[in-house]
């Protein structure tokens, strides 16, 4: 029977079925641990006197609570953050798991670091204590987020109790227009299918626009599709994925590489496999997007206007829309490109890789951040930071008036000291515009890194297509 890529990966990782409703024991190849969702899992192991099944299959990275100030220190001032980092170090030592600590040149956001190290390979199952683990779909692996209880289960057993998902294929035809990025595409997909549009599904992305997209662009798409509820994403590996992985520190080498590459290219959805649902988009119809509300599906093209609550037929959604506009301080009918900002943030697992920084630099070269706007760039990893410095991008950013920071999750979720104040309005290249996400009472507008750069220069949300002569930089 023809099968989807998702089903092939699940079949190849099923230890045994657990009941007849689709629950099974799933073997998991890898995890990446962070300091804030893992402590109670390790405590559980300690209390039960258990060891980790395979310590070499895990990596520990400090990313969520560390400061990103440009001068980096091993110890952090915040007492609670310091406590989490200290316990993280103790757990790495006691359970024999490799740790990328704050001063490690490989430190960074877990979903940037793991691919960078060649830890994620096509056909793998990767489950980790962070919802954006869906990122690894870009490499032909199945990645998904888990809670702390499941981290403990994974560490002790190398498996999870897992329910097979339904499958949704998103086919993107055509080409993205100049100035339109993978972020705009995934924001349009989420807008179209809704914040729960993929709840209960694993999503496979396919079609010419995905094939034409870089591996980093695919990571943006796969990372953010969790905001439509997807519990996993996959894109079949191709030559681009092989080129991305080959030569990385943990990638196979020599004869083993040749065997792996052959197996990986063969791993894809069968031609006549049937998905539970399909969504088709034309890439050329996608334009630069911004969110105006407090849910990632509350988004529109930058040339549009703030919607009116009356436009929503469903009463509870209408109430949610009213509440969102109230929280965001926006009036129905106002043009989106007239919304003034105080902050600009480029960072996060979704959009802080080297291509994202190059995109932002193209807009910022020779321009200045508007008066009254505080603008920050937090690279996705310390290696991305070093690469950007080799390319001179840091000088473009600082000349434009951006702060050039060290790596971490930073203001994407504001668990460290990068927190906005009530009423602050931020153009942000992150993935969540929830109430209070970047600080209590703060207002977040999600968009691509290039759009954040354009907003920073304009002092308001702005259409990046008016900022860069794209034909000159292609």
């Amino acid at each position: 029977m023809p099968r989807t890529l998702y089903d092939k990966i699940i079949d190849a990782h099923t230890v045994c079925p657990l009941d007849d409703s689709g629950q099974l024991l799933l073997y998991v190849d890898r995890t990446i641990l962070n300091e804030y969702t893992s402590p109670q899992a390790f405590s559980g192991l300690r209390e039960a006197g258990r060891t980790v099944w395979n310590p070499s299959a895990a990596l520990m990275v400090v990313d969520h609570v560390n400061p990103t100030a440009s001068h980096r220190t091993a110890e952090v001032a915040d007492r609670e953050a310091a406590g989490q980092i200290a316990y993280f170090r103790e757990n790495a030592h006691d359970f024999g798991i490799e740790l990328f600590d704050i001063l490690d040149p490989r430190q960074g956001i877990e979903h940037v670091v793991a691919p960078e190290q060649g830890l994620v390979m096509p056909g793998m199952v990767v489950a980790a204590g962070d919802s954006h683990t869906t990122a690894y779909g870009a490499l032909g692996a199945l990645g998904f987020g888990i809670g702390t209880s499941d981290i403990e289960h994974y560490l002790a057993t190398q498996t999870l109790v897992y329910r097979r998902l339904k499958t949704l294929r998103v086919v993107v035809d055509g080409d993205l227009a100049p100035g339109v990025t993978p972020k705009d595409l995934v924001m349009e997909i989420i807008r179209r299918i809704g914040a729960d549009g993929a709840t209960g599904y694993a999503v496979e992305f396919a079609g010419p626009a995905i094939a034409a997209m870089s591996v980093e662009g695919r990571m943006t798409v796969c990372t953010m599709i969790v905001e439509a509820g997807a519990r996993g994403a996959v894109i079949a590996a191709d030559e681009k994925v092989l080129a991305y992985i080959q030569g990385r520190p943990r990638a196979p080498k020599g004869l083993l590489w040749d065997q792996a590459a052959q197996a990986w290219l063969a791993l894809k959805t069968d031609d006549d496999a049937v998905f539970d649902r399909e969504v088709h988009l034309a890439a050329q119809d996608v334009a630069p997007m911004v969110t105006w509300g407090t849910s990632p599906d509350q988004a529109a093209v930058i040339t549009a206007h703030v919607p009116a609550p009356d436009s929503e037929a469903d009463p509870s959604r209408r109430a949610a829309l009213s509440r969102a506009l109230d929280y965001m301080g926006l009036a129905p009918g106002a043009p989106l490109d007239g919304i003034a900002i105080d902050h600009a943030f480029i960072g996060s697992c979704t959009n802080a890789r080297i291509e994202d920084l190059r995109d932002a630099a193209r807009v910022l070269r020779g321009r200045r951040v508007a008066a009254g706007v505080r603008a920050i760039i937090v690279p996705g990893s310390t290696q991305v930071r070093a690469q950007a410095e080799r390319e001179g991008l840091d000088r473009v950013f600082t000349a434009a008036g951006f702060e050039w920071r060290q790596s971490g999750c930073s203001m994407c979720l504001a668990m460290n000291d990068d927190v906005l104040k009530p009423g602050d309005r931020c153009a942000s290249s992150t993935n969540r515009n929830f109430e209070g996400r970047q600080g209590k009472g703060a207002r977040s507008h999600l968009m691509s890194p290039a759009m954040v750069a354009a907003a920073a220069v304009a002092g308001r949300l702005a259409d990046v297509r008016e900022f860069t002569p794209f034909e000159e930089v292609v």
């Binding site: 009941d19 409703s21 804030y36 109670q40 039960a48 905001e227 949610a320 209590k440």
Partner: protein, 204 residues
Amino acid sequence: MQPFIRVTGPAAPFPQPNVDTDVIMPKQFLKGVDRKGLDRGVFFDLRFGADGQTRPDFILNRPGWEGARFLVVGPNFGCGSSREHAVWGLAQLGIRALIGTSFAGIFNDNCHRNGILTVTLPATLVEDLMARVRRPDANGLTIDLPEQAITVDTDGLTIPFAIDAVRKDALVQGLDGVSATLARHAAAIRAFEGGHRQANPWFF
């Protein structure tokens, strides 16, 4: 884990769609290394005003709903971050079950790992329950997990629900998942791992 067999208590309506885990458990409660004190953090910015006083208009602060054991919720409840702190906090607040049309995947798993039952029902039934539990004199429910039924205490209306056998078993028995897997499947995992390594030597 506290077993879930038959639980009776008041239910509160929470109709907003897409209630995310940042709203359920804000970031300032995520910085511990244990599970303590998270009942204080649940819905913190909705329950408490800027001055730290309880907000009398919030549903769980209102007479008749303040001791709620169940929430009847809008679609996609628990979306966003994987933070299990949201579920630990709900459990510490005394919430034993959530009833809605859909739950976010990670949150749903987290609930079942911590003794909180999630019941998924068609929209019309959720709307019906939502309307009933908006009345503080008619918001008492009994959920019987072995029987897979919700009963409205005032009029005896009974709504059956479906649940995966594995989840039901774990909740009813209050099973520790790790112990159960190791006791039942350790040998099978080792055997599987051997074959998996042979098929994918580059993973190891």
